[in-house]
Structures are given as structure tokens and as C-alpha cells.
Symmetry: C2
Subunit: 460 residues, 2 copies
Amino acid sequence: MNYLSRLKTKVRTEATPIQLVVSAYLILILLTFFLLNLPIFLKPGVHVSLLNSFFMAVSTISVTGLTTFPLSQVYNHAGIILLEFLFQIGGFGVTMLATVVMVLSGRKITLQQRQLIQVDMNQPRLSGTVRLSYSVFILMLVLQLFFGMLFSLYFTWQNGLTHLKSAIFNGFYISVSAVTNAGFDITGSSLAPFRHNYLFLLTIMFLIMLGGIGFPVLVEFQQWLSFKYHHPQQYHFRFSLFSKLAVFFAVIFFITGTILIFLTEFKGQLADESWPGKLMTAMFYSASTRNAGLQLESLKTFQTSTLLIFSLLMFIGASPSSVGGGVRTTTVGILLLYLAAFIRGRRNVNIFGRRISQSDIQKAIVVTNLSMLLCLGAVLILSITENYSLTSLIFEVAAAFGTTGLSLGITAGLSIIGKWVIIILMFVGRVGMLYMLLLFVSKKEQDFNYKYPTEQVIIG
Amino acid sequence: MNYLSRLKTKVRTEATPIQLVVSAYLILILLTFFLLNLPIFLKPGVHVSLLNSFFMAVSTISVTGLTTFPLSQVYNHAGIILLEFLFQIGGFGVTMLATVVMVLSGRKITLQQRQLIQVDMNQPRLSGTVRLSYSVFILMLVLQLFFGMLFSLYFTWQNGLTHLKSAIFNGFYISVSAVTNAGFDITGSSLAPFRHNYLFLLTIMFLIMLGGIGFPVLVEFQQWLSFKYHHPQQYHFRFSLFSKLAVFFAVIFFITGTILIFLTEFKGQLADESWPGKLMTAMFYSASTRNAGLQLESLKTFQTSTLLIFSLLMFIGASPSSVGGGVRTTTVGILLLYLAAFIRGRRNVNIFGRRISQSDIQKAIVVTNLSMLLCLGAVLILSITENYSLTSLIFEVAAAFGTTGLSLGITAGLSIIGKWVIIILMFVGRVGMLYMLLLFVSKKEQDFNYKYPTEQVIIG
Ligand SMILES: [K+]
Ligand SMILES: [K+]
């Protein structure tokens, strides 16, 4: 007890917020690992090896969705519901949940705890962070409930009242999967039955994008709505540079992805579809690969070029502080802006009437390049240990690092080393390369981060 | 005539040295294209299409060595000798030859011409550049002659006097191929017959490294020798930071490559060899892939992982201002140092007691990242237009950009678009990404380059 309290003091005084966030993720993974091994969540007679079970735990908490076995054959209904619950925790991030618990329990939140939230939320300002993350949490939950009910109603209308139970189950499962970026497949055919239901696909895409745009953007949008409501005559609400960049790059990557997929699959996968069908499928994959990992058909029928484009989109990933992973859109975007500025002979990167700070550019460069090195190293190791095509390996690595969880079907056949490589990629992809880098930087050295001018952008 | 003289004045006053160098390369390619189409250099009855002929011209002047047809079936002896001559021009670079011609003809060299040489030689100081590049040129020629004779003698000793003519021909061809980085294959089996002749292989490796270490390093080494000779008592000769970095990274990449190849092929290609044989083969490929592109056996028998490592080494390439291409060792090296410095929380990159300037770091970041984007785009396009495995395509792209010229045998079967992609990669890889970027920067904006402090490093 004495030892524990000393440890507690040590952690409170010396641990940096980033160290606490990463530790919390690790503890959550171990807890999940323990839970997933409980017989009450498994179908009778099923045995899962410890490695596969740990793989599943990391995949769940990082909300990736890669699995080394078919979920529906291993977990019973209680197990699937447990997974849905864990996706929420993994998707929202540890600190966001800690905040909510503290707000609900009425405890006073210390400055250190606020900094912790600020780090996980990537909010450059401390003020009101707690209240805001609480309201985002509620918003996300309401969205999942609302669309879960909507989908349940739709499925009931389609399949009749006799299948009510499975309609509700599947409806909520899809809603949760889209918003939290889970993308785990419980039906075995993902969204294949709905490929010609455009309204359904558009709704899913909307939910995927909400989850991937980043919590701070949602917070600001909420603030903007409340501002408009309270001050209808005024119009000088200013969105942060981060929110503008997050939306801007999400749109840019979405459009670029759509065009590329459309072009490469025009004579392939899309050949037999109508024009709206071609466009819808290309749009769906452009949104899904950067983030959720839901699919309309087996990916094995796609062209190599399309699979490479998918890999690229998965590698880029979602916004920072979102349910997604990867290098993060704004990070890749700032690097691209920097390259463009250099080509045009400019010394500074200006966008939306602001200059991006040197330290943000520096972080974007380091995070992107180290992520490339990490994935390159992973592909190299897998090309030694695994007996699959290079395309499948590149795809698997990108899917793990981007926490997308799509696969060309090789996950179950990976060697022990291969599984560990994917586990590490999922973890780093979700926590973010920048946090991994700052993990060993002491509290003192990190503190300067809070003294920077206001218009810092979130990297990694 | 009036028009021509006005053009001449315009070029003299407005063109930047980089624009002149790139233009000279282009003119040389067109000239080579014309020469290679002359019937006197072709075997009787042979017809080569214009695209294949242009491909060959770019491959020759960029000293890459990729060919869409077997050389020995198309060119006669005169044609092969013409190629050897063109390798020299391509290997040494346009301006170096222009200098030599001017020195020989006794013409006065203007400041602009000196700047031109300085750019192509990447020398940060103007003084003595002309004399130095002249002496490097002589040194390289002497080396080729000396080792050409040595190899000829060796072949004569091996095969007897009856094969004297072919011994001399092959001896000089191998010597020229190694020093100028040509790597074209005229025997159809490259160096396969010599794989167990370690002294022979070591000699070849030495020549490859001399060509790839960079002319400025050779110049400084010459200066150091002359300094030692004239001032035997003093010892404060200082090598430039560039020379130190060039040698340092050449060694680092050589050792890393050797270890990686050794590990990935330990149970593959190297399994049946003795321990010295294993090491020698790994060393040979580590040196050859970064630069010359000579090979000991068909590359198709290598593991996918080894082919990826080869691709990486080819992509990195040789030193700036050498006979080689690629991103360049110092450029990749400085980026790696920068990443390492960031991880260790340092704001500056220090090495050999010097700080690397921010502008050099910036260039290294931009050049490396744009090169990756270029190669990635090339692989994407080829994956659409060609019907070869992803591994072959990645390998081909890296071989073209690194002007190494190794191939998994797909060059001849490339589509028209595929050939143009490779042509562009060979050109950009040889000229260097940085020059391509600075090509459209006007003379005024570039002039500040000459005002920088002395310890600038060469990038790209
Ligand atoms: K996912
Ligand atoms: K070559």
C-alpha cells in the first residue's frame, strides 16, 4: 500500500500527459485481453491461442478490425456486445472517457488532468476542454443511437418483423462500426448486400466521415452552432486553423481518392455498374479506406494499382484526435504544402491567411518520414517471414498502421513474427507516431508546448 | 545569323547555370539518339524503333544501362565503342567535359562558365574549380586505362593469346563500365564467370566506389596527397564537410546493405557458398546496386525481401556530383540525421564538429520526399499500364531512378507509356531532383547560393 501510494505520487509529479495516455492504452489492451479470454464471451468448445487473443485485444482497442479468426465463429452474442462496448472506448480514446467519468462523478479536475485531456484531444487551448470533450462524447453517443435505430427500422422494414432481433442487432452494429471506425465484419460479407442502396451507403459514408474528421472539429462546430443561436446578428465566429485544415484535407484526400479509384477500376470492378454506381462505389472506398475499413465486396478482385491507392489512403488515415489512425491527414497535408512552397521558392507555408509554424512543419516532416520508415521496415520483415504476394503485404501493413483493418485475407495465415509486426503497427498507428516519439521526452522538456502562440496546428 | 547571335546573348545573360547543364544533357541525348540511328553502328539488317532508340540514348547519357533490346544483337563493334565513348561523356557530366575542352584549347574561362562548372561539380568554392575538374578528368581516364590494361592482361593470361582481341575489348569494356557506372551488359552474362574470383571482384568494387564517391571527394583527395608531398611536416589539411559526409554515408550504406543482403539471402542465394563467398557476394551487390548495376547472376532467383533491399539501395544511389544517380547518399543521410536529432530532442544536426545548415536540411527533406513521390507515382502508373508483378515494377523504377540499370527482365516488354515513365525517371535520377526543382528558378533568385558561408554541403 505504501509502495502503491508512492508510485501514485511519482506518476502524478513526473509522468507526462503523453506517457499517461499511452500507459492507459496499454492497460486497456491488457484488460481487453483478459476479458476476451473469459469463457462467457466465447462460443462453446472454442479455443483461441494467447497470441491470437492478444492480437484481437490490440485490434479492438486500436479499433483496427484485423482478425486472425472469423469473429462470428468464436464469440457469442455477449462477446459481440462486449466488442461493441470496447470499440467505443478504443474509438473515443482513453482520456476522453476518463473526463466523462470524472464529470459524471462530480470530482474536481486538476490542471494536470486537463493537460492530459488536452493532449489526447489535441486542443491547443486548455480552457473549457473538459466541458467540450464531454459534449462531444454525448454527441457521438447520440449519433450512434439515432442511426442505430434508423438502421434497425430499415432492416425490419426490409426483412419483416420476424427478424426483429437480428435487425436491431445488425442496425446498431453497423452504426457503431461506422462512427467508431471499427469495421469488424460479423456477417462475413461486410456491406456487400447494400452495394446498390445509395442512400444507405451515403449515410454510412457520412458517419465514417464524422468519426474521422476529429473531435476538436466537432467541438468547434458545436460551438459555432451555439454561437449562431445565441448571437444570430453577429458573424465573427472564427474556426481554428486546425479545424479548417482538417476539413480541407479530408475533402482533398476524399476527392483525390475517388478520382484515382474511379480511373483505375473504370474497366475493372466498376465496368458493369451504372454511372451513379461507379461514382458511388469509388466514393465509398475513398472514404472507407482512409478510416473505417468497411467493404462492399471481396478486395481480391481489385487491380494491383487500386490496391496500392487503397494502401496509400489507409497509410494517410484520418484526422488527429479522431477515431482513426495512420499518419493523419493534416500531417501529410502540411508536408505536401511545405513541398509545394519549396517548389514555388517560398520560405513559409501560408494557408487560410495564417502561417504554419516551423515547429508544426518540423513535426509533420518527422512524423511522416518515420511512419514511412516504420511501414517500409514492416514490409521488409514480412517479406522475409511470410509467403504472400508483395501487394498483400503492403496492403496488410497499410491497413494495420491506418487502423483500417481491411485485408486481402492473409491475417489468419501470418507467422508469429508477422502477427507481432501487425500488432505493433496497429498500436503505433492508433496512438500516433508523434506520441511514440514524445513518449521518452521528460515533463520539463515538453512543457514549452503549452507556451506557444495560439495558432498551433495538431500534428500526428 | 542575327537571330542566333541574339539567342546566344540572351542565353549568356539570362540562363542560370542549372538551366545550361540540363539543356546540355538534353542536347547530348538528342545527339546520341541521332548517332545511334546511323547504319554504320548497327549490325546488318537490324531495325530499331524510334522509341527504343530514344530510350537507349537516355539510358546511355544517364549511364543507366536499361535496354529494351540485347545490345550485342543490335550494335556492331563500332557501335559498342561509340557507346563506351558516350558513357564517358554521360558519366563525367557535360560541364566537366566542356571545361577540359576549353582548357585544352587555351580559351579564357568566364565567371559564368566557372559557375556552371561549379554547379555541375557541386563545389561550394569557385577558386581553382577548372584546374581541379581537369585533373579529376585525367585521373578517371588514367584509372580506366590502367585497369583496362590490367583486365586485358588477365583475360589474355586466362584464355591464351589466340583470344587477344576479345580479351582487350572485354578488359576495357569492364573497366569503363565499372568506373563510369555504365553496367551495360554486352556478354549477356554480366560478371557471372568471375563470381569466385575474389581479387577480380574486389578490384571491380573498388572502381565502382571510385566512380560513385563523387568528383569533389577525388579532387580533395588529390589536394591532400599534393599537400602531404609538398608540406610533409604540417598536418592541418582540412577535408570539407561534404567529403567527410560523402565517405561516411557511402561506408554506412555499404555496410548496412551488405548486412541486410547477407541476412535475407543466407538461406537463399548464398546457401551453397563458402563463408568468404557469402560475404563477397553480399558486399558486391551492396556496392553494385547503389551505383554500377553489374551483376553476378540472374536476379530472378533472389528473395522478394532482397529485391526490396536492392530497390532501396538503388533508390538511395551514389554521391552527388558522381557518375551515379538516385536521391544521393548525402541527401538521404542528412534526412536520417535530422530525424535522429529530432528523436533525441535536439534542434540542430551536428556531425564532424560542424552544424549542418538549415537550408541544406530543407533541401534534403524536399529532395528525398519528392523523389519518393515521383517513384511512387511511377509505380502506380506502371501498375496500371504493365502486366508484371509489383516486385518487378518497384525494382525497375528504383533501377531507373538510381541509374543502376538492373532489371528483372521486364524492360523489353514495357508498354509505350511504361518506356516513357522509365525515360523520365532515368533523366531525373541522373540530373538530380534538386536541379529539376531549381530549373525554373530565375538567375536573380539563385544568385544568393553563391553568398552562403563556406561549409555548405552538396544536396541532390
Ligand atoms: K477500422
Ligand atoms: K548504371
